[in-house]
Symmetry: D2
Subunit: 364 residues, 4 copies
Amino acid sequence: MTVQHNRPRVRDMGINIGILPTGQHNSITDVPDVRVGHVSLIEGEGKLVPGKGPVRTGVTAIIPHGGNMFTEKVCAAIHIINGFGKSAGLSQVIELGNIETPIMLTNTFSIWTVADALVDYVSGQNPGIYSINPVVGECNDSSLNDILGRHVKREHVLRALQEAGKVNTEEGNVGAGVGMTGFEWKGGIGTASRLLPKDVGNFTLGVMVLNNTGLAIDFRIDGIPIGKELVPDTAATQEGIEGSIMLVIATDAPLTARQLGRVARRATFGLARAGAMASHSSGDFVIAFSTGNRIYSSGEQSISPDTFIPERQLSAFFRATIEATEEAIINSVLRAETMVGRDGVKRLGIPIAQVEGLVVQYRK
Amino acid sequence: MTVQHNRPRVRDMGINIGILPTGQHNSITDVPDVRVGHVSLIEGEGKLVPGKGPVRTGVTAIIPHGGNMFTEKVCAAIHIINGFGKSAGLSQVIELGNIETPIMLTNTFSIWTVADALVDYVSGQNPGIYSINPVVGECNDSSLNDILGRHVKREHVLRALQEAGKVNTEEGNVGAGVGMTGFEWKGGIGTASRLLPKDVGNFTLGVMVLNNTGLAIDFRIDGIPIGKELVPDTAATQEGIEGSIMLVIATDAPLTARQLGRVARRATFGLARAGAMASHSSGDFVIAFSTGNRIYSSGEQSISPDTFIPERQLSAFFRATIEATEEAIINSVLRAETMVGRDGVKRLGIPIAQVEGLVVQYRK
Amino acid sequence: MTVQHNRPRVRDMGINIGILPTGQHNSITDVPDVRVGHVSLIEGEGKLVPGKGPVRTGVTAIIPHGGNMFTEKVCAAIHIINGFGKSAGLSQVIELGNIETPIMLTNTFSIWTVADALVDYVSGQNPGIYSINPVVGECNDSSLNDILGRHVKREHVLRALQEAGKVNTEEGNVGAGVGMTGFEWKGGIGTASRLLPKDVGNFTLGVMVLNNTGLAIDFRIDGIPIGKELVPDTAATQEGIEGSIMLVIATDAPLTARQLGRVARRATFGLARAGAMASHSSGDFVIAFSTGNRIYSSGEQSISPDTFIPERQLSAFFRATIEATEEAIINSVLRAETMVGRDGVKRLGIPIAQVEGLVVQYRK
Amino acid sequence: MTVQHNRPRVRDMGINIGILPTGQHNSITDVPDVRVGHVSLIEGEGKLVPGKGPVRTGVTAIIPHGGNMFTEKVCAAIHIINGFGKSAGLSQVIELGNIETPIMLTNTFSIWTVADALVDYVSGQNPGIYSINPVVGECNDSSLNDILGRHVKREHVLRALQEAGKVNTEEGNVGAGVGMTGFEWKGGIGTASRLLPKDVGNFTLGVMVLNNTGLAIDFRIDGIPIGKELVPDTAATQEGIEGSIMLVIATDAPLTARQLGRVARRATFGLARAGAMASHSSGDFVIAFSTGNRIYSSGEQSISPDTFIPERQLSAFFRATIEATEEAIINSVLRAETMVGRDGVKRLGIPIAQVEGLVVQYRK
């Protein structure tokens, strides 16, 4: 459904963001155990009829590991860059430092349907459990999508979970990204990963973003001021573009919840480097988790003096986070194709040839 | 439906919590403009069949004012005492310092249905608005209720909103309180209010709680150690009772969001005085709002140098908050009648005669 | 110097706060490794001459363990109940989750002298270290003391550290407590401890408070409304009494920084039960640390899956914290003798006989 | 003393950071009422003898307005990017949303001397006041300076305050900046300002940084990857450079404390764009204040419905903050001359000709 292979990622243009090497597929799924699944919903066209369509939305599942997430929780942290958003489940993650369900991304008005379905999913695996904390992030795709129609249904959530794969590099108009706008161009899902330096350990850190934020004029690629040279003809309205961004960070390094909080706070740096500024109504949230530090049903955690990451080594994780966040955001724009949505609103895929021209011009 | 008139409030026992006078009805609805509505759902009995029942739950609406909440938002703040909970809408309130919908209370697994319905309600009043932040709090009534059945439906939410009244002193087994357990006795809804001292201004502060927390042994009334003398025969299991509490504070004083945050943090003191301790899994959340400080669609706020409450006067609001919180919690227990729920689980209404005896014994 | 043996602690009056057993001396020093030292400064009388006196102040050292605190840091957390205060070193504790110096308590205007001296002390033990985070708490003793005179000197800090003892039950007018006012009576230092239940492990939790907060009318002992019956003839002015309180919690249980944060937040409950309300200008701060979870120079931490405290067991630590905090606060008032300070201002020691009478009256 | 006129600011190189116009002098002192004063201490050379020297340090005063700061406080907010630092006074600013003293910057071990002196200064203006919250930020200049010697004395603090001027564009090796290292080059003080768009109002926003953070390899100027081409021969050790940065934001727009908090959180974006990453031990703190929203002794605040800045206009302040922060940081590096400090450690001023060459190469 999502044909995007003819659109390059930033690295395909010869631009390496930062200095650390990427994981095998330069995706959040490079982190061992992490799975990703997307269900994309694209139906109808023309005038908005709330409840009918057009539909330009979807749902994305990021699954920290393939086991039972409730009985084997992963250490986690939240950082709220700009709290103008409706994400579900954050308070409990902050308090307890763990996540006990897959993480879902969707549109603003579908988070409650998705949370509900996620409870069914986890409840089904854990009969008799009556307290479950679904974690669901959102961005607002109403500029293209019939958002009031809440077209994401329980079945889509379950499908995203069931079809989630161990290797996934889909980007742009997939899953929750279908109706999103990034830097006034078509935006959506982006991902990237980094390998930590050897002296820190044999670890990977991956980032997935749902990008619906930013002004065209501010967009930059590795510091090249793309937005000073290239803005879409049909610019999104100021109202339309202040959408928000969800940033999800995964690592297999056994970081504690407090350490993951420090890592999560560095996502802001990558966001800034791509040109975003968390404008007033852009709700920007970071969720970070470690598949390498788990809390079992017994109450035990898996971290030990032998595996504990010394605080001073966190700088390497900060760098990996910043680089992978910047790259994932840029990818989310480069890889998204033009989409026409409700009322004929058109979001242009950023023109690749022109971007490549600017890259050459600025970086020879 | 809820017959509770033969159960006294704490003040009917001759116990005045604190030193400030109460509002006319000693209820959160004493705060001008504030409305409260409850829909109680009680159906079936016997063995738990998820999806069927028995049903012991409900939904409560606290409406800051009778106008359009979205175009006339109220300044607000959140304090999270223990974040082990799933309440919806908190991040945006913290960031922007306002609430733009009625506040709903319900059971843990119904918050998403309720949030969804609340969006419909506000959207219906404001066509074309595609960003709405529903605020919904919850406690876990699964010890009595078929919580997985999610029996609170859209129609119940709308009814609670439509039937909300300007005077409401219902307590105990009403609305969201139907299935709750407080201090191992039957708990639920409680409310109280205080008048601020004249030199502060002609203001009222009211509190409503959804009480599902506490151990019997710790329950105290104005310092009288009720729990040392009186515990239910059928004590709730440790697991069952760690339920949580939602605390909602309203005032017509034009406090700023920052000042409301300070006020919200004092609810903990009232909670403590009633004997609660925010045990590990008791998710305790405070929502505070001011009907006297509004943010209009234009972007204007209503506060001015003339109406601004000097910081040093906040101590009076702190006292009012502590007193009303303590009293509302005690009321939530005193007023709740015995309820038999799923699988025959019985929560006893605290025996009034014995409580009255202890009050006499300890306070002559 | 400080004769207080003829004043009872609350437990000597037959009142047991809560249900958990105390440690051997019912003091923070019951926690293995924890040491406490006080230097009390009482000089001159009569009219206040800034820089000259009278002097009614001091400094208190709470030393987590007898080794090198910088190379063997202890896990720690901060909770700010009311941030109207000047304590030093909090941000770094919050960020890194550890404390690397002894914790000092003193008066508001002496924290910088004390911080400076503490840096010398730690620097002396660790030559070549140029980044040290001294943790110093304060309350305002200006109603009795020439606070602008800053009479606490480097030598007093070093003496408090050197003379700190493994058993210390001094309370009231000692160390930083010399010039403090609690509930409008003479206040100051108080301490208490609790043993954790066996199933949690063989752990102790201790609390030390520097109590300079509260109104007489609100003071209560185990729920007995002392303040409704007994207020000092020479009541402190509203201005004078809004002093603040420092609360320090120690445990040998190997809690993580995040878990210590949850524990620290429960100190508020003990504070509330004693009758305080964190009035506008009462800066109330909690510092919690674990001697059982250390961070070594190597970067290693000492916690392991075998020693990790399961989250659900934290409720026992919450109870211990609440009980010990309430008791330490009450002790700080009961044990403090009448003190006359600058300009002849007199703070009365609460009259023990009358308190004992009230205890008998209310509790048979 | 500080000759820097032959070193250009970034704008002198033809690089305009962002799109908003600067204030008259492109300095924090463009904000009406704001004054800045620096006292620079440079003495001795050769081997470090703690207590003797060499001295490479100083103190900087940022005075929000020329009146009595204590009786006319300014609304303010704090954002802690990385709390690994010792800044004084933050808790009270967070709680009350105001600043009541000038803001001082100095080295890590001198903050307590400076806080002490600042209390004397404010106390001298306000006899009989015994509660003052000095706000002092710090970075660690120990790689060049005898930091343990604490060479900043009371007299230097008072001089910085007294000599503070209404126009001040000094940068680099001045005041607290004397001994700092930025991106492994000589760093220190930098400043910049922006005019808000007309539709927001006739307001200015200014930023001053004390820059002691960053790796050479990461340094960028308006996205030009300077650090990929140019690193100092004598690179700072990893240990030495993780220094931290203080960021101070001033505006005359009457923002509330909550709104200033949102503004403060955008400083991170400017920091990121210059190439910093808040590495583990880089304590990065933001202080934001509004000279246009004051709190008077009477308790009144000056904001009104007429002057209140609608939330949606904050995006313009965010942009101004990001641009001015990025530019101030770049200026702090460009303007700082080579400095030789203790033990002959040399920090090179970044070579201007080479930077200019790179600017031409990358931007034609």
